[in-house]
């Protein structure tokens, strides 16, 4: 590579790579460990003192004695003893997404192994977290035969989405057809004389069938309301006012959006009128009423 042109002293990139890579003779202990890895097994080695080193070493770092020839299967799960989060992986890192380097004490071992944990986020891993190896499909006898470790499965996502075909009932259809014409249709119970809106086929008070339809004006009184500071897809902005509106001549309020007035100027007793969508935009839906807006009349007595 030609040296880049700079104003300072000449500089060049230089890679010292032994062709084909250095070879390493593993010796019997590390060789056994890697051979077992290739077979998908995790083995540690027992020291003369009886501890299990994982990964195995040829000589016990605590005493300098040669380890025994007893290999002990450990894991496959282990416990994280310490972890460091890598927010931006570098080339050569085992994962191409943020991960943790962790010291992992595999079950049955007395020492910890360093490996990568695909934890998703730094909060998901702490000393004591349980992790499992994720094996590579094609193994060669290398520490990277374990692609990485992953936290235990503690949660699944269960997609549930029952689908219904909702049909507006006969009474609701009557009401919605009224709303498409720009009128509110109610019904008067012949037994208790109460006027219900939306129109319904039977009286919730006495159970009688309601036959008499009543056309109600699109004006009414706010009996009470909430100022909602949580967003809702059906509301134009936050805060929005959802109000109980008693239409003139009705005996039961409807819940509807109030607009055209700042939320904190809405009052109980305020007189309001429905603001309708233009006729050519209307459908069989309450959305035909954009909202209720103040009429400017004096407040009603509640």
């Amino acid at each position: 590579m030609p040296p880049p042109e700079t104003d300072g002293p000449p500089a060049a990139r230089h890679v010292l790579e032994f062709p084909g890579g250095y070879t390493r003779t593993t010796g019997p202990v590390i060789g056994r460990f890697l051979t077992e890895l290739r077979a998908g097994r995790l083995v540690g080695v027992r020291t003369a003192e009886g501890r299990v080193l994982m990964p195995p070493l040829e000589y016990d770092p605590a005493t300098g004695d040669a380890v025994s020839d007893e290999y002990v299967e450990v894991g496959p799960a282990g416990t994280v003893t310490a972890a460091a989060w890598v927010p931006q992986p570098l080339p050569g890192h085992p994962l191409d997404r943020p991960f943790a380097w962790a010291l992992i004490r595999l079950d049955g071992a007395d020492t910890a192994l360093v490996h990568a944990v695909d934890a998703g986020n730094p909060k998901a891993l702490r000393p004591g977290s349980r992790v499992w190896p994720v094996w590579r499909q094609d193994r060669t006898g290398h520490i990277t035969d374990i692609a990485h470790f992953a936290p235990e499965v503690t949660r699944i996502v269960s997609p549930v989405a029952p689908e219904y075909r909702i049909q507006a009932g006969g009474a609701l259809r009557v009401f919605l057809e009224g709303v498409r014409r720009g009128v509110f249709l109610g019904g008067r119970c012949a037994t208790c004389a109460k006027v219900y809106v939306p129109y319904r086929a039977s009286c919730p008070e006495c159970g009688s069938a309601i036959d008499e339809r009543v056309e109600l004006p699109d004006t009414g009184t706010i009996t009470t309301f909430a100022i909602n500071n949580l967003p809702d897809p059906r509301a134009p902005e936050v805060p929005f006012v959802s109000a109980y509106i008693l239409l003139d001549g009705a005996d039961i309020p409807m819940i509807a959006l109030v607009g055209g007035v700042p939320a904190h100027e809405v009052r109980q007793g305020m007189r309001v009128r429905a603001e309708w969508l233009p006729e050519d935009e209307r459908t069989l839906s309450m959305a035909n009423v954009r909202w209720f807006t103040p009429t400017g009349e004096p407040d009603a007595e509640l």
């Binding site: 909702i166 219900y196 009470t224 500071n229 949580l230 805060p239 005996d251």
Partner: protein, 384 residues
């Protein structure tokens, strides 16, 4: 009322934001085993199991009675689910009790739970059906207008809700199972939190909790365990349609009727004087003064004065929610059962640091839906 029935075991999980270490099955079993241990019994000693939870959409579990039969030792036994929205915990206790009062069974395990961390209650309560434009956002969005109307009718000053929010959270500090533990809670802290559904502030609402509660109910002939039983002196449920002309949503008729029924059974004519402690479903702070009136502890329009006087505090003459109440722990389906269980703990004398001295008669209360389902019981230290 039929045969006598008593609570002989109570078990609760610690209420918390997320119980990631257990499945729903593990959660209900934890409460059930604690209740059985309290009663000195095992699943083998139970005749039937009654389970309650909030509506199906809350966790997407539609048949908990089928899913949880194994976890609750119900193989080969009658098991049923109760379903009355937020009051379901209370109704679950009452359905269980009715199996004993009716002479059908001797020992019934009642369990209720919610794992709110596995879903979202506001989503579940705001499903936006086609053709409809109700604009109600969650429970707070539904109840806020009725709280506003209570304030208008009674002229209650704006800080009354704050007083309840502080009192119940202070009580929670004495309850090891309580979810919200805010040692520095005071009026300034509550008033500094934003309005969610005005007039309801953030700290005037209940938390979202994971948890379960269980009770072992027994007939008189099958009493077990060394503890004091909590005897049922009255049990009542009422409901009313949510849409009805002239319905009083501030002071619902079904609540008044339910209270009148349960008081009549228990021989109570003056609840404020005769009842020693009440665990009442107060998910938004203003529901304490509202229910004080609905339940006859105060005259209409006067409930807020009782709250303001401190009468409902732990050291007042009629403590409400010494456990910290729904405002401090809210695994929704279980919240009603917890009220009933806490009432039982009080008269058994086992409420620990939030024990009301000498409590002999206690009210457990739950409500649900659009304040349209009510469940109540009166439990006592003496046999009825």
């Amino acid at each position: 009322m039929g045969h006598r029935c008593a609570v002989i075991g109570v078990g609760q999980t610690h209420y918390t934001t997320k119980r990631r270490d257990v499945s729903i099955a593990g959660l209900v079993r934890e409460a059930a085993l604690r209740a059985l241990e309290d009663a000195g019994l095992t699943f083998r000693d139970i005749d039937a199991v009654v389970i309650g939870k909030a509506p199906d959409l809350f966790e997407g579990v539609m048949m908990p009675e089928a899913y949880l039969a194994d976890a609750l030792g119900a193989a080969g036994k009658p098991m049923m689910r109760v379903h009355t929205a937020g009051s379901v915990g209370g109704s679950t206790a009452l359905v269980g009790a009715s199996l004993i009062q009716g002479g059908v069974h001797d020992r019934v395990l009642v369990v209720a739970f919610e794992k709110q961390s596995e879903s979202n209650a506001t989503w579940a309560l705001s499903t936006h059906l086609p053709f409809n434009a109700s604009l109600v956002v969650g429970a707070g969005g539904y109840f806020a207008p009725h709280i506003r109307e209570y304030m208008r009718r009674t002229g209650a000053p704006g800080h009354i809700g704050t007083l309840v929010a502080v009192k119940d959270r202070r009580n929670a500090l004495r309850n090891p199972y309580a979810h919200l533990r805010i040692p520095a809670i005071d009026r300034a802290m509550v008033e500094s939190t934003p309005m969610l559904w005005e007039p309801i502030r953030y700290l005037e609402t209940c938390p979202s909790s994971d948890g379960a509660c269980a009770m072992v109910l027994s007939s008189e002939t099958a009493l077990a365990g060394g503890g004091t039983p909590a005897w049922i002196h009255g049990a009542a449920m009422r409901s009313e349609p949510i849409f009805r002309a002239g319905r009083d949503t501030v002071n619902p008729q079904a609540g008044k009727d339910c209270a009148a029924d349960v008081y009549r059974q228990a021989g109570i004519t003056d609840p404020r004087r005769q009842i020693d402690v009440a665990e009442v479903y107060v998910p938004f702070s203003w529901y304490e003064p509202m229910w004080l009136e609905n339940l006859g502890f105060a005259a209409e329009g006067e409930g807020w004065k009782l709250t303001e006087s401190g009468a409902t505090a732990l050291d007042g003459d009629i403590p409400w929610n010494p456990s910290g109440g729904v405002l401090s722990s809210n695994p929704i389906g279980a919240s009603g059962l917890i009220r009933f269980a806490e009432a039982a703990l009080q008269v058994r004398g086992t409420a620990g640091e939030h024990q009301v001295d000498g409590a002999r008669l206690a009210l457990g209360h739950a409500y649900g839906g659009g304040a349209q389902f009510f469940a109540m019981w009166i439990v006592g230290r003496e046999k009825p």
